[in-house]
């Protein structure tokens, strides 16, 4: 059998962002993989030590577009922990709504791309069109479709008044039946989807734990860790989050976890809108942040996002460090890809919901 090396990237039609893969191939089969990163390393962690804590809120939201709400949320939670700030209840509920609306849009984007890679363009268009309902909702509620600018230290800077609550519920009522009655059954039963995604890109639960994997990738292998229930923040402890798992650890299972998590996100948003208490949106004026250190975690659309913050009593943070879930997923590609076919590489890469700007910062 003929062996050869195949370069993929850094600029490639199946990659949305630049990453270089050197893939060893034997015949049609992947025998090994080496990843070279660093093409979009922007030094953002370094920049956070050159900006004050308030400016950093805007900078950190721009690490990544799809999970842009998770970064400022974890960052604010860290500063609130250091300063002992109590976030008002209404703001806690609104934070969950912002979190879940981003999760819904992010997960739908990933499964839409899966359909595109499979070549099922009508399904790709259908999922993207349904996702537009969430995009429109974000634009109406937050004034922006991607970077919501929802969080401030000590609360939120958006509100959902009674008439807007009715609008958001109407939007959820539009999306849910499309998702439950049309999109999910298609992913569950369509032979084009199943033949290209079942039994492909396999990784088991123990390997997920060994590689430190989180989020839908790990849950697609039966590892039921979700920060929203394992280490609840905001008001997730009152919402009884359903942690979605699938046992098989293939491309299809990861997609199904993401789709079912959109349904769960809709349920959580409905619950928050129903229970939304009256009260202030923030704890008060711009707070003073004393010296201290804190660690916070949130469940970003791709899994656990962890922040470490250290302050020294000035308005410039001594250190801000974070790790996104995609960071570990890259390394695990060697498990998912080796033994697979060349034609499956784009599907497997997409199944980790890769975010290179998040990984490299």
């Amino acid at each position: 059998m003929k062996s050869f090396e195949m370069p993929v990237g850094p600029l490639h039609v199946s990659l949305e962002e630049p990453m270089y893969f050197r893939i060893d191939v034997e015949g049609e089969e992947v025998a090994g993989i080496e990843i070279t990163a660093g093409h979009v390393h922007r030094g953002i962690e370094y920049l956070t030590a050159k900006r004050n804590i308030y400016q950093n809120l805007a900078l950190i939201e721009r690490v990544c577009s799809l999970c842009s709400n998770s970064h400022p949320q974890a960052y604010c939670m860290g500063l609130e922990k250091i300063a002992g700030i109590e976030v008002p209840e209404r703001a806690q509920y609104l934070r969950v709504i912002a979190d879940e609306i981003k999760r819904a849009a992010s997960n739908m984007f990933n499964v839409a791309i899966l359909a595109h890679i499979v070549g099922f363009e009508s399904l790709f268009m259908h999922v993207m069109e349904a996702r537009e309902i969430m995009q429109d909702t974000k634009e109406t509620v937050f004034g922006n479709r991607m970077d919501l600018a929802a969080n401030v230290i000590g609360g939120v800077k958006f509100d959902i008044a009674e008439d807007r609550i009715a609008y958001v519920i109407a939007q959820l009522n539009r999306l849910e039946p499309i998702l439950v009655k049309e999109i999910i059954p298609l992913y569950e039963t369509n032979s084009s989807i199943l033949s290209r995604t079942r039994g492909i890109g396999l990784i088991n639960r123990d390997q997920c734990i060994d590689y430190g994997l989180m989020g839908p990738v790990a849950r697609g292998s039966g590892y039921a860790y979700d920060v929203r229930s394992a280490a609840p923040y905001a008001v997730y402890d009152r919402l009884d989050v359903d942690v979605i798992t699938y046992p098989d650890g293939d491309v299809w299972s990861r997609a199904m976890v993401r789709l079912k998590e959109v349904v769960e996100a809709i349920r959580l948003m409905r619950l928050c809108l129903r229970e939304l208490p009256e009260g202030p949106l923030t704890s008060g004026p711009l707070p003073f942040i004393p010296a201290g250190e804190a660690i916070t975690k949130v469940e970003a659309p791709r899994g656990e996002l962890i922040y470490y913050l250290k302050t020294d009593g000035t308005d410039i943070p001594a250190r801000v460090k974070w790790r996104v879930p995609t960071y570990m997923n890259w390394d695990a590609l060697e498990v998912m890809m080796v033994g697979g076919r060349i034609s499956d590489i784009p599907l497997i890469v997409n199944s980790i919901d890769p975010c290179i700007s998040c990984t490299e910062r």
Partner: protein, 172 residues
């Protein structure tokens, strides 16, 4: 799921076996944040092994306090059922710690990243290929860079203006 008191007992049992400082707090959801600062960086692997034995997984590694004269700190953040344990070790600039990759596979990228961004070394690694920065770029390069926004803000404009004034005076 372990109770907070169980987590505290487990982590305290690890901290007792290794010289260093131990502190913790508990949040309103019953999750613990524990800090162990090791007296000797040579105890790192033993401490990491002990944490693994009580069910910890590695979440992240942070290098900090990167001043030329000071001691660098490397903080290893672990998760146990949603609670966080941070293991801190002090390392001289240019100093070394032992790898924990044999214990935690996902430490590989973290170690490679802090080696290239800080003047720190990790011993016992099979492969220390650069992660993000090219081999031709010096370690700690970020500490020598000036953000474009600083170069182009009002401060540099004043400097430029003063330089022009001086040059004009000289030319007279």
């Amino acid at each position: 799921m372990n109770e907070a008191s169980d987590i505290i007992d487990l982590v305290a049992s690890v901290a007792r076996t290794i010289p260093g400082e131990f502190s913790f707090n508990e949040d309103k959801h019953g999750r613990v944040t524990a800090w162990i600062t090791l007296q000797n960086s040579t105890d790192l692997v033993a401490a990491a092994r002990a944490l693994k034995a009580i069910g910890a997984r590695l979440s992240m590694i942070t290098a900090l306090s990167d001043q030329p004269e000071s001691i660098n700190t490397i903080a290893y953040h672990f998760d146990i059922d949603g609670s966080t344990v941070t293991l801190k070790v002090g390392v001289e600039p240019g100093g070394s710690v032992e790898t924990i990759v044999p214990l935690f596979r996902n430490a590989d990228w973290h170690e490679r990243e802090f080696m290239e961004l800080y003047d720190l070394h990790v011993s016992g690694r099979a492969n220390s290929r650069r992660l993000f920065l090219d081999e031709t770029i010096d370690r700690r390069v970020m500490q020598r860079l000036i953000p474009l926004s600083v170069l182009s803000n009002a401060a540099s404009t004043t400097m430029l203006f003063e330089k022009l004034i001086v040059d004009r005076e000289k030319s007279r």
